[in-house]
C-alpha cells in the first residue's frame, strides 16, 4: 500500500503537517512538527506521555490554536487553523477519542448516526428506516456483524471500539478521508485487538487513511504501515516504515536512550520466613475461594480473564469490600468483621488502586499534598501538620520515581498519566508498608514510566516488602513476579513459577477451555 515512489507519493498525500508548533506558557508542547500521511495507510503516532502526540491531535481537532507559522494540508489544500467542526467535516477528517463517547443506553444505530441525522425534505422528520440502513451499510463496509438495534451498553469491548470508529466513518467521504484514533484502543483487552486492527486495515484498504495514536508498541508494530516517533514535542523520526524497524528501536527513539532488557533479577526468597500475607479460603465479590501466601521480598502476580475474580483481590485486601475466610498479616489474624480500611492500613497493608482519578489521587490538590496525605496524623501533631517532613517526603518520591516536572507544588491534574501513576505509587511507598497490593499499576502509562514503576516495585520487594500485583498486563507479571496465579471462575486455576509472557498467555486461554476439576486440582497442587 505504501510502496509508492517518492515522486508519485506527492499526489498520494492525504495529510501534510508542516512546521507546526504549540506553546503553553514557557513550554513548547509541539516544536516544528512535520509529517505526511498517505492515502490508504495506517499511520502510527507514538511517544511517551507529554511528548506532543496528543497535542498534535488536539490541534488537528481544533481544540488548541497552534502558533501561526505552521501549516496543515488535506489533499493538497490548506486547512485553516484552528478548523471549525464544519471545515473538518468537509475536509473529511474524523476523530475517535479514547473514551469512545458512546451512549450506553442508546442503540448502535443511534450512536453511529447521532449528529448526522438526515431530515426528510418537507416535514424535517427523521427517517429511522433510512438511518438504520446507513448504519448497517457502514458496518457492512467494515465487514463486521453487529446488529444496529442492540444497545451500546451491551456490546463487548471490541464492538464498542468498532461502533465508535463506524460513527467517525459515517462523516467521511466514501473511499477516502482521514480518521484519527486518539488512544481509542487503549482500553481494549489484548484478545479484542485483532478484530479492531482488521477494521483499521480494511479502512486503509478501501483508500482511507488512519492515524493511530498509541502507547502500545506491539499494536503499532502489528497494524501500522509507517510511524512517527515523538519526543519532547518534536518528531524524532517521521514516516518510518514499520517493517524496517522493531520494538526496541522504537522504544529507544521514544525515550532517547536504550531500554534494558525487560527482565529483572528476581532474587530468591528465604523459605523459613514467616509469610507477610497468608489467606485461606478467602471469598468476596467474584472470588469464591483463594489460598495464598506471600513472604517478605516476594512478588506474586495474579491475573485472569475479565470476571475471573483476580480484579477483586485488591478491594478485599484493602478492606474496601467485605470478605470471609482466614486472613493473617505477619502472623496476626484479622477476622472478617474487623477488615475495615483503617484496620488493614494499620496492619501495614497498602493498596494502589486501579482507577487513579476516582480512587487514587485528588487531582485538584498538589503532588505534595497527595503524597503526604496518608501520614498527616502519624507524622504531624494535631495542631500542626509540619512542613519539613512533607517537603522531604515529596522530594524523596519525586527523586525515587523520577516524577516530572520536578515540582511537588503542581496540581496532580497538571501531570501526565505516567507521572500521576508514579505519584500514586510514591504516596503509598512512603508509608513503608509490609504488604503492597497493586491493581493494574502500569495501565495507560508509557514505556519509560512503566520501567520506573516496575523498578520501584522491584526494589521495594528487595527491601522486604511483600508484593501482590493484580493485573491483566501479563508482560509486567512475567518481568518481575516470583509466582503468577491465574484465576478462573473465582478460583485459582493455575500457578506458575517465574513464567514467561507466552506461558501465562497460553495458560490464560487454554485453561478457559479445559474442564474445571482439573484446573482446581492444579491450583491445590500449586499453592500447597
Amino acid at each position: 500500500m505504501s510502496e509508492n515512489g517518492d515522486r508519485d507519493a506527492g499526489q498520494q498525500i492525504r495529510l501534510r503537517v508542516g512546521g507546526l508548533s504549540k506553546r503553553f506558557g514557557p513550554n513548547l508542547a509541539l516544536d516544528g512538527v512535520s509529517l505526511d500521511v498517505r492515502r490508504g495507510e495506517v499511520y502510527g503516532l507514538i511517544g511517551q506521555n507529554g511528548s506532543g502526540k496528543s497535542t498534535l491531535t488536539k490541534v488537528l481537532a481544533g481544540y488548541h490554536v497552534p502558533e501561526p507559522d505552521g501549516t496543515v494540508e488535506i489533499d493538497g489544500t490548506a486547512l485553516r487553523m484552528p478548523p471549525r467542526p464544519k471545515e473538518l467535516l468537509s475536509a473529511g477528517i474524523a476523530f475517535v477519542h479514547q473514551d469512545l463517547g458512546l451512549l450506553d443506553h442508546m442503540t448502535v444505530m443511534d450512536n453511529i448516526c447521532v449528529g448526522n441525522l438526515e431530515a426528510s425534505r418537507i416535514l424535517r422528520r427523521v427517517q429511522w428506516a433510512r438511518e438504520a440502513e446507513r448504519a448497517r451499510r457502514v458496518l457492512a463496509g467494515l465487514r463486521v456483524d453487529i446488529d444496529p438495534a442492540r444497545l451500546a451498553g451491551d456490546l463487548g469491548a471490541e464492538e464498542r471500539a468498532i461502533v465508535a470508529i463506524a460513527r467517525g466513518l459515517l462523516r467521511l467521504p466514501p473511499s477516502g478521508g482521514l480518521i484519527v484514533l486518539d488512544e481509542a484502543t487503549r482500553a481494549l483487552p489484548e484478545h479484542s485487538l485483532a478484530e479492531v486492527h482488521r477494521v483499521m486495515r480494511e479502512i486503509a484498504h478501501q483508500g482511507g487513511s488512519v492515524v493511530l495514536v498509541s502507547h502500545n508498541l506491539d499494536e503499532v508494530m502489528a497494524v501500522t504501515d509507517r510511524v512517527a516517533v515523538f519526543r519532547d514535542g518534536r518528531v524524532v523520526t517521521a514516516g518510518l516504515e514499520t517493517t524496517s524497524t522493531d520494538k526496541r528501536e522504537l522504544a529507544r527513539m521514544m525515550l532517547g536512550y536504550d531500554v534494558r532488557d525487560d527482565e529483572f533479577h528476581v532474587a530468591g526468597v528465604a523459605d523459613d520466613v514467616r509469610p507477610t500475607l497468608s489467606i485461606r479460603s478467602l471469598a468476596g465479590r467474584q472470588i469464591e475461594s483463594l489460598d495464598l501466601e506471600v513472604k517478605p521480598g516476594e512478588i506474586v502476580g495474579i491475573t485472569g480473564l475479565n470476571g475471573s475474580g483476580f480484579e477483586d483481590l485488591p478491594a478485599l485486601l484493602s478492606g474496601a469490600a467485605p470478605s470471609s475466610g482466614h486472613l493473617q498479616i505477619r502472623g496476626r489474624a484479622i477476622p472478617p468483621g474487623k477488615r475495615s480500611i483503617r484496620a488493614m492500613l494499620g496492619a501495614g497493608v497498602v493498596v494502589i488502586p486501579e482507577r487513579r482519578e476516582r480512587d487514587g489521587l485528588a487531582f485538584d490538590m498538589t503532588v505534595e499534598d497527595n503524597i503526604t496525605f496518608p501520614r498527616l496524623h502519624t507524622r504531624g501533631t494535631p495542631w500542626f501538620v509540619g512542613n519539613k517532613w512533607r517537603r522531604e517526603e515529596a522530594g524523596w518520591v519525586v527523586d525515587l520515581l523520577d516524577v516530572r516536572p520536578r515540582d511537588p507544588s503542581l496540581l496532580v491534574r497538571q501531570l501526565s498519566g505516567g507521572n500521576q501513576q508514579k505519584v500514586l505509587l510514591g504516596k503509598w511507598l512512603a508509608s513503608k508498608p509490609d504488604l503492597m497490593v497493586l491493581h493494574e499499576p502500569t495501565q495507560a502509562v508509557d514505556v519509560g514510566a512503566r520501567r520506573d514503576i516496575l523498578e520501584a516495585v522491584h526494589s521495594a520487594a528487595q527491601s522486604g516488602v511483600a508484593v501482590v500485583i493484580a493485573s491483566a498486563e501479563i508482560g509486567d507479571l512475567a518481568a518481575i513476579c516470583h509466582r503468577v496465579i491465574i484465576m478462573r471462575a473465582g478460583r485459582a486455576a493455575a500457578l506458575q513459577q517465574r513464567p514467561t509472557r507466552d506461558e501465562i498467555l497460553r495458560e490464560l486461554h487454554t485453561d478457559a477451555m479445559s474442564d474445571q476439576p482439573t484446573a482446581t486440582s492444579n491450583a491445590e497442587e500449586g499453592t500447597a
Binding site: 536512550y257 480512587d359 485528588a362
Partner: protein
C-alpha cells in the same frame, strides 16, 4: 528578566540530553519547575482585592465627607459581621463537598428563640443562649444524619428543613418581631475594641482560626481531601461519613452563634426576615472562592468578599440609592468575579 532567561535556557530543547546513555535522569534534562510568581497568579488571586482598593479610592475621592468617616467604617464592619459568621457556617459543608441551605434559617431560629425564652418563658439570658445553640446543633445533626447516613439529597433536605425551621421560628414568635432582652446583653456584640464592634472581632477570630485549622492541621487537610475526592480519602483511612456529619453539626452550631450575636446586636429579631439572609450568605461564600486560592473556599477569602460587598453597598447608599441597586451589585460582582477568575485560570494549561 534574569530569571526568565535562565528558564528559557533550561527549556531550550537543544539542551535536552538526548545522547545520554542509560536512563537520562540528569536534573537538567527534566523540565524545570515553572516559576511560582507570575502576573497571572497575582491577578488570579488578588483581582478582587484590587477592585476593592479601587472602590475605596473611588469612594474616597468622590464622597470624601461621608465615606472617610468612622461612621462609614462602623457601617462597613459592623453591619456585615453577621455574614462573616454565616458564611463560615455555610463553608463548613461546602468544604467537604456538601451544601447546607438551612444555615440562615438555623440562625433565624436561634435569634428568635433567645428573646422568646427570656421575655416569655423567664429563662436567664445565658440559659437561653445555651438552648438556642443546642437547638442549632440538633438541627444540624438531624440534617447530617438524613444526608450522610440515609443518603437523601443534601439540597432537598436542607431546603426542606430550612423551611421547617422558618415555620418553627415564626410560630414561636407568633409572627411578630420579638425583643425584650436586657440592654447589657447587647454589649456582647456591640462593645467597642480598637474602634470596631466586638461582633466584627469575633468574625475575624473565627475566620483566622478557621484558616489556620484548614491550612496547618491534619484535620484541615483531611477536610480538604474529603472535599476534593471522597473515595481517595476513604481509601486513605479517613472516616469520611463522620467528617461530613461533623461538618453539618459544626456549620449549624456556627449558624446558631451567628443568630445569638445578631439578636444581641439588633436587640430583637423578626423570624420572617431569616430568608433575606440566604442569598447574601451564599453570594459571599462563592465570592470567597474567587480570591486567595481560586476554586477553593477560604475563610480569609470570605473576609475579603464580605467587606468588598459591604463597601460596595455603602457606596451605593452614599450615591443616594438603596434596595434594588444593591441586589444588582451583589449578583453582578459575584458573576463578574467568578467569570474573571475562570477566564484567567483557563489560560493556564496543563503539561
Amino acid at each position: 528578566m534574569n530569571d526568565a532567561d535562565t528558564t528559557r535556557e533550561l527549556t531550550d530543547p537543544t539542551d535536552v540530553t538526548s545522547t545520554v546513555a542509560g536512563p537520562g535522569r540528569l536534573a537538567s534534562s527534566s523540565r524545570p519547575a515553572p516559576s511560582r510568581f507570575s502576573m497571572r497568579l497575582l491577578l488570579e488571586r488578588y483581582l478582587l482585592v484590587g477592585v476593592w482598593i479601587a472602590l475605596v479610592i473611588l469612594l474616597g475621592l468622590t464622597q470624601p465627607d461621608s465615606f472617610l468617616t468612622s461612621t462609614a467604617i462602623q457601617v462597613i464592619f459592623g453591619a456585615s459581621a453577621v455574614y462573616v459568621v454565616l458564611g463560615l457556617a455555610a463553608m463548613c459543608t461546602t468544604l467537604v463537598g456538601e451544601i447546607d441551605l438551612a444555615v440562615p434559617f438555623i440562625m433565624g431560629l436561634a435569634a428568635t428563640s433567645v428573646p422568646v425564652l427570656v421575655s416569655k418563658m423567664g429563662f436567664s439570658v445565658l440559659a437561653a443562649c445555651a438552648v438556642a445553640l443546642v437547638l442549632s446543633a440538633v438541627a444540624g445533626l438531624i440534617n447530617g444524619l438524613l444526608i450522610v447516613k440515609v443518603g437523601v439529597d443534601a439540597f432537598i433536605v436542607t431546603l426542606a428543613s430550612g423551611t421547617i425551621l422558618l415555620g418553627l421560628a415564626g410560630g414561636m414568635s407568633h409572627q411578630v418581631p420579638v425583643s425584650g432582652l436586657p440592654p447589657e446583653f447587647s454589649q456582647v456584640a456591640i462593645s467597642k475594641f480598637i474602634g470596631l464592634p466586638a461582633f466584627t472581632w469575633y468574625g475575624f477570630i473565627l475566620a483566622i482560626v478557621g484558616a489556620y485549622v484548614l491550612a496547618f492541621t491534619p484535620l484541615g487537610r483531611d477536610i480538604a481531601f474529603v472535599g476534593a475526592n471522597r473515595e481517595v480519602s476513604r481509601l486513605a483511612g479517613i472516616r469520611v461519613d463522620t467528617v461530613r456529619l461533623f461538618a453539618y453539626v459544626l456549620g449549624s452550631l456556627l449558624a446558631g452563634i451567628a443568630g445569638v450575636l445578631l439578636v444581641a446586636q439588633l436587640g430583637g429579631f423578626e423570624a420572617s426576615t431569616s430568608g433575606s439572609y440566604l442569598l447574601p450568605t451564599f453570594a459571599v461564600l462563592f465570592l470567597s472562592a474567587a480570591v486567595v486560592r481560586p476554586g477553593r473556599f477560604t475563610p480569609i477569602g470570605l473576609l475579603i468578599a464580605v467587606y468588598f460587598i459591604a463597601t460596595g453597598n455603602l457606596g451605593i447608599q452614599l450615591f443616594g440609592y438603596s434596595g434594588w441597586p444593591q441586589q444588582l451589585f451583589y449578583g453582578g460582582s459575584l458573576v463578574a468575579a467568578v467569570t474573571a477568575v475562570h477566564i484567567v485560570r483557563r489560560k493556564s494549561s496543563t503539561f
